[in-house]
Amino acid sequence: MSDKPEDVRALTSQALPISRGASSSVRQGYSRSELEALYALGRTMLTSGDMGSAERIAKGLIGIAPDFSPAWLLLAYHALMQGKHNDTIFNARQALRVHPACIEALLFLVIGYFEIEDFQTGGTFLGEVAELVHGERGSPELKRLYDSQVIRFEERLRQGRRKMLE
């Protein structure tokens, strides 16, 4: 992903869905564009280092629209940066609940499980990412991140084999 200026501007919308049931979950008539704008603000706050505000934006979004998966990704990112890996995993799973083919959520799970040294579970999710990331939705940046986690996983496997031989 190229570096973007911190100012908020019109961005191409990616098709991350709100689930069909979400219209009933969207409290008080927030439109999709409002939810997306709030998410964009939260994301911008993260890029500018204001993690606390971004977290509060994300929590507010989840309160009003629990099926808006990008908000769960915001929380997952925040938790990852705080080193709260179980929270990262939880938030990523919530995003997947809404959007089962979400590459970003799957990669959060991969990284989260790797961080807690559960390479078996992380490796399983890595396999799910493999199928998706090489399709149309896989951006070059996501593919690179996926590749880095594959390398990490393979290195772990090598370490395991070396220990067995000792």
Binding site: M1, K4, D7, V8, R9, A10, L11, T12, S13, Q14, L16, R27, Q28, Y30, R32, S33, E34, L35, E36, A37, L38, Y39, A40, L41, R43, T44, M45, L46, T47, S53, R56, I57, K59, G60, L61, G63, I64, P70, L73, L74, A76, Y77, L80, M81, Q82, G83, E104, L107, F108, I111, E115, S139, E141, L142, R144, L145, S148, I151, R152, E155
Partner: protein, 90 residues
């Protein structure tokens, strides 16, 4: 935290922003329009919170709604403050 992030990224110490995992969704094309919409929502939620606190009984369910609405209010305040700063710079 910086070392932890570095450890997360690559075995070869190259840099790859984890921000990639936050898709760029949506657009904020008109800050003033958004400000008006969010201000109206803030007004509504503050009215609701005022009604809850003035209520005679606080049931458990009311407490849960209260928590959600407080969270919503906080979100709206932060967003409006940020918009205000952006409009001030523009």
């Amino acid at each position: 935290m910086k070392n932890r992030i570095e450890k997360l990224l690559f075995h070869d110490e190259s840099r790859l922003p984890l921000l990639t995992l936050l898709p760029e969704v949506g657009a904020v094309e008109d800050l003033s329009k958004l400000r008006v919409a969010l201000s109206a929502r803030l007004e509504r939620v503050e009215l609701q919170l005022g009604e809850i606190s003035a209520g005679a009984q606080r049931a458990r369910i009311a407490d849960e709604n209260d928590s959600r609405e407080r969270s919503e209010r906080e979100m709206l305040r932060i967003a409006l403050n940020w918009i205000s700063l952006q409009e001030g710079e523009g």
